[in-house]
Symmetry: C2
Subunit: 849 residues, 2 copies
């Protein structure tokens, strides 16, 4: 069976092998490894078989500790087992991992290397977790891209059976686990060929069974424990040879040759980086450029990190080496150096002792990419430049701006190595608007339907739904080797008009590049609605500017807000990646494939979307005059200094510009800061009806965003605060409020449009005949500019009203309330109340009712 080219992400690539070569897969989901567990589960549910024809047993445990424990048991019965994990999840497995290694148990754990929670939690990638397992006695094999996430999974699986030492196979979380790449998929025959069945039989024969009883897990006293520990030496000594042999066999089968350590770069390099994981690809791409410029630079890629074969590492170095920089993707504060550095330092030291005539290179240590921090060619160049500088920095970091202990390397942000052989596109979407899904489709179409190599990477923030997503897509005839974000795009698409006020998305557009904007405005009116800065950028960059009213088109076709097919088509047509007809054919083929099962109606609607897009793309000729508005302040001038200096940068997407001195060292942040981030993401917002309201206060109680609040105020207070006609009030209920006014105000800019207030409201509007309707006192209406502006003005008035600290609503006095205890018959969904969005919740509570 010939091999297929597939366009998938690192998790899928790894699971392809992990599932096919396992019998028991015990799982507990943790980001970014969860998709592997989910996919394995889905395959088993679909009754997909492993390469030996059986369906693996998939079990989800109560925690990663349970996963490690149950795998220990399954492995002891002679089963072939695996799991997937990351971060603190891996830490929970450590106690069992020592035992699994000590008992010479073959298994592979696939880890999407992720940060550990320290001053804050990070779901993103670095080597903090896998390094915390380096003392367990596991072998550790690293993949640096999607192809390798598959290949090394297989190499690990065979090597663990051959060596009896468990393998931790890892690749960079998000950067590799979630990057979509076109790659060659191994066949079942490949896997059967690679895995030696005799070794499986041997594993089975070691199983704990009453038929051949043996005893495991004993207590060993001081007389024998140490001797017992020294028995394993020969097994560890054998691993490098076993892994290299397996890699060689794999190369003979697939043509892809890996080595324990691979050298890349100038054969006469004087300056060499040692690195592991996806960062090696960025270094490789940068080396190509630097070598072309005459620089003598190179790199040693670490694949087998444990056991660390010191001699193999030194042998991988060119004899010309004068300076080494070891780059670690983790930080171990208090250590004399980060882990890979310490290993390389020992290797160099021992090599020099073994060969006194050897020139001992200078060895430097650096740290990069923690928590998926960007690691770009510009940073790589800075690392090489540091080596040849007069006073090279040691134990540096590259990325952060360390203005306190001055450990950071400075780098030239404008340095760019990306050439014209690759097409680069960036798409700015709103979380859950379909942009990411559409781009995944695009990547797959190009990967599948053309000879192009393809790459997709997707940046979300932790707010997920409702915040911005940025899709980074690259295509080209040559292999795309660029595990870093695009900063010079041929194409930028904005799927949400309001982003133009918030994010500097044209900064990355290259000269003569294309900008596609979704807007309800037409080509004549759109220009004047753009911010002046955007207008200037379009003109300066000599951009091609297209618009499309995807929302209107989607509604017309019947797809509603699902505009992904429209935007995808627009991209294909404008970019010219494929010829127009080819593109339409390819998209339609993909539609048939994706939606065929759902019936002709869905397929045809999507066909209509494609055809509609073709007819609705409008090119806007750039005027040469700047007519737009100034960009609004990210946070208002009255915000606290910390918010203006730190929080605002994060809101703008420029968090990487925050200096070390500005960040809280202990992870302690000021509270009540979300009030300064006005996201204005609601499509519909509540409108209060004073006539219908029974003044129970549930709307304010239930709002998870603290953006619907109530107060009672005197007429005088209202006047002083500047309440105008649009500021709605009602006569306050209750004797204690006699003569005062009651008001409910909504901050539309903070509202997420969740409708909880409207649903929780127990009041019902009466119709002309006095009969109750379905409408509550809070009706959802479109969040127009006019609504927003009115809301902002009235919110300001509301906040200026005095707090009435000693007053509170007496539930017994609430008109229409059926009980003196508002909770007893409350329609309020409790889970909503239990999920306050950070500090605004407290603020909301402090406002008197």
């Amino acid at each position: 069976m010939s091999r297929k080219m597939v366009t998938i992400d690192g998790n899928q690539a790894c699971t392809h092998v992990a599932y096919a070569t396992s019998e028991v897969i015990t799982i507990y989901p943790i980001t970014p490894s969860s998709p592997m567990a989910a996919e394995a589960d889905a395959k088993a549910t679909a009754k997909q078989k492993n390469i030996w024809g059986s369906i693996p047993v998939i079990s989800q445990m109560q925690s990663e500790g349970g996963v490690a424990g149950s795998l220990h048991g399954s492995l002891a019965t002679g089963a072939l087992c695996t799991t997937f994990t990351a971060s603190q999840g891996l830490l929970l497995m450590l106690p069992n991992m020592y035992k699994l290694a000590g008992e010479l148990t073959p298994t592979v754990f696939h880890v999407t290397a992720r940060s550990l929670a320290c001053q804050g939690l990070s779901i993103f990638g670095d080597h903090g977790d896998v390094m915390s397992a380096r003392q367990t006695g596991w072998a550790q094999l690293c993949s640096q891209n999607v192809q390798e996430a598959q290949d090394m999974a297989l190499i690990s699986t065979q090597a663990t059976l051959a060596s009896r030492i468990p393998f931790l196979h890892f690749f960079d979380g998000f950067r590799t686990s979630h990057e979509i790449q076109k790659m060659e998929q191994l066949t079942n025959e490949d896997m059967l060929e690679m895995i030696d069945e005799k070794l499986i039989t041997a594993h089975r024969e070691r199983a704990l069974t009453p038929d051949r009883p043996s005893m495991s897990g004993t207590a060993q006293n001081p007389d024998v424990y140490f001797t017992g520990r020294e028995t394993v030496n020969k097994y560890y000594n054998a691993i490098p040879g076993i892994v290299q042999e397996t890699m060689d066999k794999f190369a003979a089968l697939t043509g892809r040759q890996y080595n324990l350590f691979d050298y890349y770069g100038a054969p006469d390099a004087t300056d060499v980086v040692v690195i592991m994981g996806s960062g090696a690809e960025t270094v490789a791409a940068t080396i190509d450029h630097l070598v072309a410029d005459g620089r003598k630079v190179g790199m040693v890629i670490v694949r087998l990190f444990r056991p660390f074969d010191m001699k193999a590492m030194v042998n991988a170095l060119p004899s010309s080496v004068e300076r080494l920089t070891v780059l670690d993707r983790c930080k171990e504060p208090g250590a004399p150096g980060d882990p890979l550095y310490l290993d390389v330092r020992a290797a160099i030291g021992e090599a020099a002792e073994a060969n006194p005539t050897m020139f001992m290179p200078l060895v430097l240590a650096g740290r990069y990419g923690l928590g998926s921090a960007e690691f770009s060619p510009a940073m790589v160049k800075a690392v090489y430049d540091n080596m040849v500088s007069m006073a090279p920095k040691n134990h540096f970091c590259v990325g952060p701006n360390d203005d306190v202990t001055h450990t950071s390397l400075s780098y030239d942000k404008s340095y760019n190595i990306e050439g014209d052989d690759v097409y680069r596109a960036m798409f700015y979407g709103l979380g859950s608007d379909g942009t990411v899904g559409a781009n995944k489709n695009t990547i797959k179409i190009i990967g599948t339907e053309t000879d192009n190599s393809a790459q997709g990477y997707f940046v979300y923030d932790s707010k997920k739904s409702g915040s911005m997503t940025v899709s980074h897509l690259r295509f080209g005839e040559n292999q795309v080797v660029a595990p870093y974000l695009i900063n010079k795009a041929s194409f930028v698409a904005c799927h949400n008009f309001t982003f133009l006020n918030s994010y500097d998305m044209l900064a990355n557009l290259e000269d003569g590049g294309t900008f596609l904007l979704t807007t309800t405005l037409d080509k004549d009116s759109v220009w004047n609605e753009l911010p002046a800065k955007v207008q200037q950028q379009l003109i300066d960059k000599n951009a091609k500017f297209y618009i499309i009213d995807a929302l209107k088109l989607g509604i017309a076709i019947g797809l509603g807000a699902r505009i992904n097919m429209i935007m995808q088509t627009a991209f294909f047509l404008i970019s010219g990646i494929l010829k127009k007809d080819e593109a339409i054919d390819a998209i339609k083929t993909a539609i048939k494939k994706t939606y065929g099962k759902k019936g002709d109606k869905i397929v045809n609607m999507n066909y209509d979307a494609v055809d509609g897009a073709v007819n609705n793309i409008v090119e806007v000729t750039l005027p040469d005059n700047i007519t737009g508005h100034e960009l609004p302040e990210t946070v208002p001038a009255e915000a606290p200094e910390f918010v203006k200096q730190v929080t605002a940068k994060m809101i703008e997407g420029k968090g990487d510009q925050i200096k070390v001195s500005e960040m809280p060292a202990d992870g302690r942040w000021p509270t009540a800061t979300t009030q300064w981030e006005k996201r204005n993401i609601a499509v519909n917002v509540p409108e209060w009806s004073p006539e219908t309201c029974i003044q129970c206060g549930k709307c304010s109680l239930v709002c998870p965003h603290g953006c619907i609040r109530i107060k009672v105020a005197t007429e005088d207070a209202l006047k002083t605060a500047g309440a105008n006609d649009t500021f709605k009030t009602a006569d306050a209920n209750g004797k204690e409020f006699k003569g005062s006014k009651f008001t409910v105000q909504i901050s539309s800019a903070d509202c997420a449009g969740c409708t909880l207030c409207s649903t929780a409201c127990p009041a019902r509007k009466k119709d002309a005949e006095g009969n109750k309707t379905d409408e509550s006192a809070l009706k959802m209406i479109p969040n127009t500019d006019a609504v927003l502006k009115e809301s902002q003005a009235n919110w300001k008035t509301f906040m200026a009203l005095p707090e009435m600290a000693n007053a509170s609503i007496n539930p017994a006095t609430v008109k229409g309330s059926s009980s003196s205890d508002p909770c007893s018959s409350s329609p309020v969904p409790v889970q909503a109340v239990a999920r306050p969005r950070t500090s605004n919740w407290l603020l909301s509570c402090s406002v008197t009712g």
Copy 2:
């Protein structure tokens, strides 16, 4: 208040400070740290106050994970918190430890460094656990003896408050935690003086409180996480200075000066060891000897392991150094070297780069003392000899005999550095016979009542109750610095006569030393009952030989088997450590102190024990003829090869002679091997009454040791197997056994005398009138030599009887059984059934009833 000299163990020394300087102590017991948790709990129960006058809150959690989590919470509220742990318990704390460090939280965890379970579990000491925490960002401070376990606890407590970085204070499990030493106890005033209250106020002010809200535990995205991690640099940079400053202040207060790294040895040493923990004391004592012999040797003691101050470490080296050996007390298979080695290698490498004219010493790595494996002066000498050998071994181990990968150093077992300034005594007792307790008293008397320095260390094996204990006691006018076992004893006491057949306890007796034996034999008959080898050793060593019938004396006084006071007195009188009258006074004073609360009767009985001992010590003049018996084989000739080669050595107490090639590499052991270890420890054993027995089989079912078994056999079979008159049988019940005989046999040598069989037996003997008595069919009788021999002969006959695989007892046919289901009305204690002692249980079940 002036300071007291106290004679306590490392756990007590540490708890003295940990308790006095804490407000919240959350605990979960794990060996060997449990005594600290227990003592803290006992102090709180006794309402003992901390130095600020409040009683710490002690809470036991559900696991070490819960301890770390709850401490995280308590610390966040501004409390001063601590805990105690070790081994896999520490591993469960790792996820929280990253967060505690990341959030700059001052706390001290006190760890009795212990092995991690790998190929087998070990409850004993090495640095495997603390090394697995070295990447968490905690500071790590190491104590090497009992005095330091107290001193460093205080230094850590102040340093964590000053630096805001949590401290892991550790000392060697068992070797330091359970060693009793005379030391100077800090006063409350000392602790108040050392701890800066301003820092406590600062910690309180950082507490999470709604009065000054701040937010902790946030998620950080790739834009800021890395920058957040770099904020901590300045805190770590400050720690070495803070710790040194604290040590200096401590020195001014107490006169004990510690440094981050301390150098010990010849000022012009060429060969230097780098080491951490109790092993440093063995190295120091050996250095004294080697330097006296003209060797240029020295040592760097590591105290502050994290942060590892590379410059301070290099500065501690004499400029004359040519060779370094870094000794690690842990093994990280697959690493290029063990952790301390990697750190020192980096320090030397960076120092050489900083100063190109520096002579770069050869750096070697070695491993010692895993799982409390002995680390003796002979081994230290081997380490120094290795450095100056023609081809020094690197990455060696010292202790095991690695005949597979040849990593071990050979050493001269007869090398001994102990001088005459110290009195050394060894006591062989049976677990739970009071020997250890008596020796702890002895140490305390000497420590308290004399100016002598004193040390006690106690070796148990994992069988605990019923197995051998060896107490190692040293006293002297000079400080005792010898954290290793005695191999040249002035005094050896044997508290159990049967040990003479099993253990070579006179091997360690020095020439002219004293041997004290508890025996019921008198001075005329005892000689002939000794094994010939023991006789020869006594003669060859020109030993003084004393006996005492402590058991008879104990019974006579009313103390029964509690012979500890008798043996203690005998030791004092024979050894001459104190003058006779002084000794008796001191012991009696101690008795008054210990038992005073229990009333005069108890005190007087113990006084009688002292006086009785004085009168019952008998010196035996050594005959010059060898009349004794040959030592019995440890295991019989028919035992499997593995048992003879490996298990037998462990039974003899010579497990350290087992070679690497002989040990199972994966911790898998053959089953059914306990049958070859005949311990013969039962005082009373069951005797079967065929007349009373109802043949229900419950005795065999309930025996946890598989040493009471039943069979049905024909008369022919009995004859063939060689059954004689002493082989009791009864006519078998049940139609299917008609004409056959039923027998119950007991292996007295395997019996533990637990009485479960006797209790479980439902049958009752009838008296002459035919009335039921209280006696069951299994009566406990003294386990005399005659009983043993008869049992052994009959057991052999029994085992030769054919298995009747298809026959089984039908409960319905059992005479006197009230139910067809023997479980329904069974008097068998179920927990006994549920606790089979390893494999003999299976054997027991396979025998047909």
